[in-house]
Symmetry: D2
Subunit: 339 residues, 4 copies
Amino acid sequence: MVVVMKPGTAQSEIDRLVRQFETQGLQVGVTKGVDCSILGLVGDTTGVDINKISTNDSVERVMRVSEPYKRANRKFHPEDTVVRVGDVSIGAGSFAVMAGPCSVESEGQVVSVARDVKAAGARLLRGGAFKPRTSPYAFQGMGLEGLELLLKAKAATGLPVVTELMSPHHCQLFEDKVDLIQIGARNMQNFDLLKEVGQLSKPVLLKRGLSASYEEWIMSAEYIMAAGNENVILCERGVRTFETYTRNTLDVSAIPAIKRMSHLPVIVDPSHAAGKYWMVEPLALAAVAAGADGLLIEVHNDPENALCDGQQSLTPQRFENLMGKVRALVDLMGKKMVQ
Amino acid sequence: MVVVMKPGTAQSEIDRLVRQFETQGLQVGVTKGVDCSILGLVGDTTGVDINKISTNDSVERVMRVSEPYKRANRKFHPEDTVVRVGDVSIGAGSFAVMAGPCSVESEGQVVSVARDVKAAGARLLRGGAFKPRTSPYAFQGMGLEGLELLLKAKAATGLPVVTELMSPHHCQLFEDKVDLIQIGARNMQNFDLLKEVGQLSKPVLLKRGLSASYEEWIMSAEYIMAAGNENVILCERGVRTFETYTRNTLDVSAIPAIKRMSHLPVIVDPSHAAGKYWMVEPLALAAVAAGADGLLIEVHNDPENALCDGQQSLTPQRFENLMGKVRALVDLMGKKMVQ
Amino acid sequence: MVVVMKPGTAQSEIDRLVRQFETQGLQVGVTKGVDCSILGLVGDTTGVDINKISTNDSVERVMRVSEPYKRANRKFHPEDTVVRVGDVSIGAGSFAVMAGPCSVESEGQVVSVARDVKAAGARLLRGGAFKPRTSPYAFQGMGLEGLELLLKAKAATGLPVVTELMSPHHCQLFEDKVDLIQIGARNMQNFDLLKEVGQLSKPVLLKRGLSASYEEWIMSAEYIMAAGNENVILCERGVRTFETYTRNTLDVSAIPAIKRMSHLPVIVDPSHAAGKYWMVEPLALAAVAAGADGLLIEVHNDPENALCDGQQSLTPQRFENLMGKVRALVDLMGKKMVQ
Amino acid sequence: MVVVMKPGTAQSEIDRLVRQFETQGLQVGVTKGVDCSILGLVGDTTGVDINKISTNDSVERVMRVSEPYKRANRKFHPEDTVVRVGDVSIGAGSFAVMAGPCSVESEGQVVSVARDVKAAGARLLRGGAFKPRTSPYAFQGMGLEGLELLLKAKAATGLPVVTELMSPHHCQLFEDKVDLIQIGARNMQNFDLLKEVGQLSKPVLLKRGLSASYEEWIMSAEYIMAAGNENVILCERGVRTFETYTRNTLDVSAIPAIKRMSHLPVIVDPSHAAGKYWMVEPLALAAVAAGADGLLIEVHNDPENALCDGQQSLTPQRFENLMGKVRALVDLMGKKMVQ
């Protein structure tokens, strides 16, 4: 940590601050200049409140030097983490595709889509039972019934199931029935929910918030990990920018950046990023090329009549075409598609 | 609603769509052109799924003409709503200031600050018991104990209490003990929590999400109102932009915009917007000048030793100075400070 | 400047870097830690290329401690700068309003508007002769003829004229005829143009770029000042965010921030920020309350038939109403309207 | 174009507006509803000023239905445009890499880098002679001398040269000596410069502005094309967002989006997007996978001592490694690297 003092700060005040930091077990080096003095703080600064120091009237600025995350930090865990969902491994060269409908609508629909995506090469089934919708008047998902239908599709295909958890009331239910628990973008900083899923044993798919920085996103993973659950997969799904042509702006830089900052696997959801079905293919391929460990893709047997997000869903046929290209690219990238 | 057809769409397809909309009880007007045809849809379009229509291959674009919110819409409720918190009225020319520490830290601290802010003219006491912190390693608030201390400060001063609810597990507790229930920026689209507070009888202070559009913000109020609780106050607290000098970018335009779109009161939190105590005064005054119905301000008796957000907290003395200016400006704006 | 070394950097490499910085005339203090070492650099670091140091493989991060601007920096010039345009003073408590049509359209129009805004209290006449338009097919302004009409309006009213310079070809013309030379938001980083206006003697109104940080904006002022022209007024006009309801998002925090960073006057253009005439009043008042030194407002005698930006223009009547409120607020803020 | 009338607008006012539009040669269809009426306008609406109509007090909203650009519009030019630079073709399946140093620093440097990048497969030489720098105190490029050195490198290698034009004063010089004229991000809406390069015969590389929407970017291309120069290549180089880890946020969605909106070739500059050399490879590959027609990459023989942007420059060795991967991916995408 670095503390920059204001010009003209009295030596006595600098000495007082130095002693205060030393009392907290830190080593402090002082560089004195005419314009300003700089305090370099080394040691375990995780307990130091940067805002508190900033409040001091003699302090010009405080800058953190080391990352505020530990368990998710690649520095302390250099090897890639592999997260296992059922018998599917994700990360460290193992690439997996999760696909399925935005919303579960009926047994016929979800079983049919599950069969189609499995045939095309998907290894997990995604599907929404509880849906976060901007409007209270929009279809809110089939809820518990939808979850049961997902389990039927799992029984029919063997695909592990990933679906979104929105309320702490359902934690036990998800722990019992769901293979990969999704935390949606809008709940990325619902810290109480993060703490609760941190106490479950099932792996967690943590979507990036609409305007979350890389550090904030990793800190949310850290919440889950600090509570005891180290099986976290991060999912980039586009961020909010000034551009309105796309639903969100896919940030492919997040892939190499997160991989450098953290050891956790990173997958990409091109469907929500684009908001347009014809853009899913180029964005999915871009994600693979940038080093993603997997994809999360919306597939619907009848997009025009989908109850949710039809405009960004692929038909099974389009998904199959995409998977051919994904497979070739994963191969070129030196990774292995999970079989 | 307006549906723009792609160039060269067959007449039969246009006819099919028109009949489909008419079946949904809408009137449809068709404007035909060489380049494109335009369908104008009037009637109750709240049940029409804009995304679903967009999925049609012949459709170029769909544009909503009327707002997707009803209960919060000024069109259907032209007069300003006044929300009462204890005996304090907010809105329609009645201006109230809520102040207090970011976090409750001790009985002495919160009672002392409560007395100071009351003396300076605040009419509600704000204070955090459950704290949403970016880091799992940061102070998470005193929790239930902090809530009890807030109530002691209320007993000592008579000030109604506003504090943040983070988990549905605490809904009943807040219904019993809190006067104004705050939903934080990070939970603005925690739809399950919104539905639950919609079933409570206490008024709700809904902070704007970090990158929420005006419409999304109002839609979150609509969630609460649709569930039965019409007493919602909106709180602008800055949005996320590219500028990092300030903690957030205060969007004063939100005040006149929301007042035109909705009848709900709008207050402003300059402390979180600025992130710097010396910027609280100009932002607070700007908010009043732009038409806000109140302010939410962090005040701490000892900012340098605050457990949270000290760098943006005013001392009681600075708060008193600010209140003198706020009072003069509220008067100039033709509003009344709640006494 | 602070240089953070990667964990495990050899002592010899640290020594090499220290010597390198010392050769550049800097003093260097080293704080050694287990995780990382921190080099604090003091002295004149303006010549040090932060990017260059970052390229070193042993360097984790480089952070600038002092601002990269000098002439515009309040640290080296603590008193407010007052810029004089004709006989109008702007800054240091002297508040001026500039008003007029977006585009000059005819002699009748511009003279009539000039008389109206003068009567209402404006002390400079704004008007576009050369117009930066997003579309090449939109009205591009009357050009030289428009400039002549502005001068006729000046002759008729005595109001000094502010208008936008878009091309270096017109520098001499503007030097001869214009009182305050406006550099538009889209040219804020047109560095060649900045250098050229830096060689003129007329004061410059520098609008903030659509997504310019405070520092970049001040650095553009620094370009003009470094070339010899110290008479720069900064104009906040809204920045680009995700919110599309307003044309731009007015950043009132820019006012206190810039005033702390720099000694230059700051004015606000609420018309371009809002993009809606009914929002100009609340934003103008917010700007005054936040400490602005002036306002730039679009006024048109017939907004519905304006060739440009009619939807954000005030009628003379609305402008007069606004000016009454502005005057009262300027007075409350302890400033003086230029008479 | 669609005009939505406010509720309760008198029939006579609607009739008046309809006649007004018909006078402008448009066909108007009216859909009447209880809440609002919708006017659908078809015909050539490029001359209609959307802002002007918005000014009418009875008008709720105006929405454009057709794009405001013509020459750049794929609707009127369905085939991909191929731009030729020297004997290099870019677009329509022909993929080209442009590489070289951020700044020209010496003959030795630029000739050496030119030979290296040519050997690795680059087909154009990029290099900055006139440099847009945020600070007036930073190295501003070698100017005319730098341009001469670029030409020596061209003579030595045969590679056509791309370099940035910043001032209209240099138009003739660039017309004579440069093969591909770059307009930088900060000048994307320097409309006077766009008009001037529109009159040149050399092809233009138009970088996307820091916060330019797709439509604004295409409109800037339209400026150049409308002035007579149809040889425009668009270059995505990252946009400004809230994320500060990367220098900019690369928007790969721009590639498929622009290709759908326009027929012009799109290339990508991963160096400026990332701002970090180790991120150039994943972003470059992502760009190719998303459908880019080429890449613009910074290569420097000695990044640590580069006068500009060393931290994002590849060494010739790293560039060669990257080119191997790019070649394989271009092949997989079914495109051809220019030989």
